[in-house]
C-alpha cells in the first residue's frame, strides 16, 4: 500500500514536470519567449507579440510535440525489447533497429534515382520514407530474433544485434559512396537527428504511427509480465508466445521505424529511459512501467531538446549528440550500480 502512495506521488510529480518542461521547451530558442506568454498562447489567449504566436504555433509547438512522441515511442520500444529479449542492454539502437531503419531510409533517399519517377516520388514522400524505415527495422529485428532463437546466451544476442548494425551501416556507407552531393547532404542531415522541420501534417502522421505502436504495446502488458519469468513459464501461464512475440515485434518496428523516418536515428533514449523508470519506480510490473516509461521518455526527450537549443546562444546542437552525451554515462552508471540485477 505504501508503494501505491509512492507511485501516485511520483506520477503526479512527473506529470507536473512534463507540463513545466513543455512550457520551458517552447519558450527556449533563438528568440526566447517568456513562459507566461507561452502559457497564454497555448491556452487559447494571445502572447504579447503577434510574431511570438506565429513562432509558437508553427515552430515551437510542433517541435515540442515531436520531442514528446519520439521520447515516448523510443522509450517504450526499448522497454519491449528489454523484456522480450530478457536482456537489460537491449534497445532499438543496440539491436540494430535504428540502423535497419537508416538502411531503409538510405535506400529510398539515395536509391530513388535508379527507379522510375512515379515510384521515386511516392518513395520520397513521408509515407514512403516511413514505410521503408519501418520495413528496415522490422527486417533487422526479424533477423536478430531468428538468430537469437538458437543462441540462448544473452550476450550473444547483443553481439548479433551490433553485427547487424555494422552490416547495415556498411551497406549505407556503400550507398552514400555512389550518391550525389545533394543526396548525401540530405541523408547526413537526416542522420544527425532533427525534431524541428516537422510540418503539422507530418506530426499527424507520426502521432498516428506512435499511437498504433503504443496501443499494440498496451494490450501486451499482461504477456510482458509473464515473460519476466522467461519463455517457458510464460507459455505455461497460457500465453500464446508466437502471437505475442509477433505483436511486440510489430509494435517495436512501427515505433522505431516511424520515429527514425521523421526524426533520424536517435540514440540511447530507448536503452536508458526504461532503466531510469525501473530504478525510480523500483518495479518490473509493466502496468506501472508502461506509464512511467511514457512519461519519463517524453520528459527526458524535452530536456535533451532544451539542451540542444543551447539557451543563450543561436546555435542548435544535433539532437543525437545530446542524447548520446546524456545517455551513455547513464548506462555506464546503471551498469555499475545494478550489477546484481544484470546477473
Amino acid at each position: 500500500m505504501q508503494n501505491k502512495n509512492r507511485n501516485t506521488l511520483l506520477f503526479s510529480f512527473l506529470t507536473l514536470s512534463l507540463v513545466l518542461l513543455l512550457l520551458l521547451n517552447i519558450s527556449l530558442g533563438s528568440v526566447s519567449i517568456p513562459m507566461k506568454d507561452v502559457f497564454n498562447s497555448l491556452t487559447g489567449g494571445n502572447a504579447s507579440k503577434e510574431t511570438w504566436d506565429y513562432i509558437i504555433v508553427n515552430y515551437r509547438l510542433p517541435k515540442a510535440i515531436a520531442a514528446i512522441l519520439v521520447g515516448m515511442g523510443l522509450a517504450i520500444s526499448g522497454l519491449l525489447m528489454q523484456t522480450l529479449f530478457r536482456n537489460p542492454l537491449a534497445g532499438p539502437d543496440v539491436l540494430g533497429l535504428s540502423s535497419g531503419a537508416s538502411l531503409g531510409v538510405a535506400t529510398v533517399i539515395l536509391g530513388a534515382a535508379f527507379l522510375p519517377p512515379v515510384f521515386a516520388s511516392f518513395l520520397l514522400s513521408s509515407y514512403g520514407i516511413i514505410l521503408a524505415s519501418s520495413l528496415g527495422s522490422f527486417l533487422v529485428l526479424l533477423a536478430v530474433l531468428s538468430v537469437s532463437q538458437s543462441l540462448r546466451n544473452t550476450m550473444a544476442i547483443l553481439i548479433v544485434g551490433l553485427m547487424f548494425g555494422s552490416l547495415t551501416n556498411a551497406i549505407v556507407g556503400t550507398l552514400t559512396y555512389f550518391s550525389t552531393a545533394e543526396q548525401l547532404q540530405k541523408f547526413t542531415f537526416w542522420s544527425l537527428g532533427n525534431l524541428g522541420n516537422l510540418s503539422w501534417s507530418s506530426i499527424v502522421i507520426l502521432s498516428i504511427c506512435v499511437a498504433i505502436g503504443l496501443l499494440l504495446s498496451l494490450v501486451n502488458i499482461k504477456p510482458l509480465n509473464a515473460l519476466l519469468l522467461g519463455e517457458n513459464y510464460a507459455r505455461s501461464l497460457g500465453m500464446n508466445y508466437k502471437k505475442t512475440r509477433l505483436v511486440i515485434i510489430l509494435a517495436t518496428s512501427i515505433l522505431t521505424g516511424s520515429i527514425t523516418a521523421f526524426a533520424g536515428p536517435i540514440a540511447f533514449i530507448g536503452l536508458a529511459v526504461p532503466h531510469i523508470a525501473k530504478l525510480v519506480f523500483q518495479t518490473s510490473n509493466h502496468t506501472v512501467l508502461f506509464w512511467s516509461t511514457l512519461l519519463l521518455g517524453s520528459i527526458i526527450m524535452l530536456i535533451c531538446d532544451c539542451i540542444s537549443q543551447l539557451p543563450g546562444s543561436d546555435i542548435t546542437l544535433p539532437i543525437n549528440a545530446v542524447t548520446s552525451l546524456f545517455g551513455a554515462p547513464i548506462v555506464i552508471w546503471l551498469l555499475l550500480r545494478k550489477r546484481k540485477m544484470m546477473n
Binding site: R86, N225, L228, L229, G230, R235, S236, G238, N285, M341
Partner: protein, 260 residues
C-alpha cells in the same frame, strides 16, 4: 475410482521426428496420474526423462498414442485451458528483473485474470493461500534475486499452487539443494498432495528419498517404463535395472543403493 485420474497416457511413444528419421526414445508407455498422489519419475541421465515430461505436459507431441488431461487430449487443448489444468516448476534461471516474491507468485493467476491482469479478491485469496501452504510469509516483500536457491524453489512451487491446477509437474526440483533443503522440499511436496488433493509429479535423482516419501514411482529404463508403488517396485527388483553397472546394487532390505 475412474474419476480420480487426472492425466492418462496410453500406449505413447516418445521421441523426436526430423524430416525423415524417427528417433524413438521410449515406446508403449502407459501412465496414469491420480488425485492426491506424489509421484516421482526416476531414470539414469540421458534416458529421456525430460522428453517424457515435455510430452505429458503438452510441449511436445508423442510419436504415437495420446495423452489426456481431465479426459481431453492435451495436445489439442488451447493454451489457456491447459494453463488452468497444469502448472510447472522448472530448474532454469529466471531472467533478471525487479519482481518481488509476492509479484512472482501473483503471476500464477494470469490464466484467470482479465486482459490487463487485474487481481480480484478471489485471486488475492488464492495467492495468500499458496503463501500460507508453503510457509513463506517472511519472504513475500523480498526481491526474487535476494533469496537463496532453496527458497526460490519453494517460491516457484507457491507460484504453481497459486495457478490452482489439479496437476503440478516439477523438473528436478532438488538438484541444487543440500540434504537439509532436499528433505524439507520433499516433505513439503508430500504435505501439499495430502492437504490440497493435487497430483504432483516430479523428476529426481534422489532415489532413496523418493522411495521413502512418494506414493508412486515411474522408473525409466532402456527396456521399459514402469509405474507402481515404491514397495512393489522393491519386491519386483526394478531398481536393479536402473543402472547398468555391477558396482551399484540395490539393497531391498535397507531400501537404498550400495556401491562397491
Amino acid at each position: 475410482m475412474e474419476n480420480k485420474i487426472i492425466l492418462q497416457a496410453s500406449k505413447i511413444s516418445i521421441g523426436y521426428t526430423s524430416k525423415k528419421v524417427k528417433n524413438v526414445i521410449a515406446k508403449n508407455i502407459d501412465l496414469s496420474l491420480e488425485k492426491g498422489k506424489l509421484i516421482a519419475l526416476i531414470g539414469a541421465n540421458g534416458i529421456g526423462k525430460s522428453t517424457l515430461l515435455r510430452t505429458i505436459t503438452g510441449i511436445q507431441k508423442p510419436i504415437s498414442g495420446t495423452v489426456s488431461l481431465n479426459k481431453k487430449n492435451i495436445h489439442e487443448m488451447d493454451f489457456l485451458n491447459l494453463a488452468q489444468n497444469l502448472s510447472i516448476v522448472l530448474t532454469e534461471k529466471l531472467p533478471p528483473s525487479n519482481l518481488t516474491v509476492w509479484e512472482l507468485i501473483a503471476l500464477g493467476r494470469q490464466p484467470y485474470t482479465n486482459w490487463i491482469g487485474t487481481l480480484t479478491d478471489n485471486d488475492i485469496a488464492k495467492i495468500n493461500e499458496a503463501i500460507a501452504l508453503t510457509q513463506i510469509e517472511h519472504l513475500v516483500s523480498k526481491k526474487h534475486f535476494e533469496i537463496s536457491d532453496g527458497q526460490l524453489q519453494i517460491v516457484l512451487i507457491a507460484r504453481a499452487l497459486a495457478q490452482d491446477t489439479p496437476l503440478i509437474v516439477l523438473d528436478e526440483p532438488t538438484t541444487h539443494l543440500d540434504l537439509l533443503h532436499k528433505i524439507a522440499l520433499f516433505k513439503l511436496l508430500k504435505r501439499l498432495t495430502q492437504e490440497t488433493e493435487k497430483c504432483i509429479l516430479f523428476s529426481t535423482h534422489d532415489i532413496d528419498m523418493a522411495i521413502q516419501l512418494s506414493d508412486e514411482m515411474i522408473i525409466m529404463t532402456p527396456e521399459a517404463v514402469i509405474q507402481d508403488q515404491p514397495c512393489n517396485l522393491i519386491t519386483k527388483g526394478s531398481f536393479n535395472t536402473l543402472f547398468k553397472d555391477e558396482h551399484i546394487v540395490f539393497d531391498a532390505q535397507k531400501g537404498r543403493f550400495l556401491f562397491t
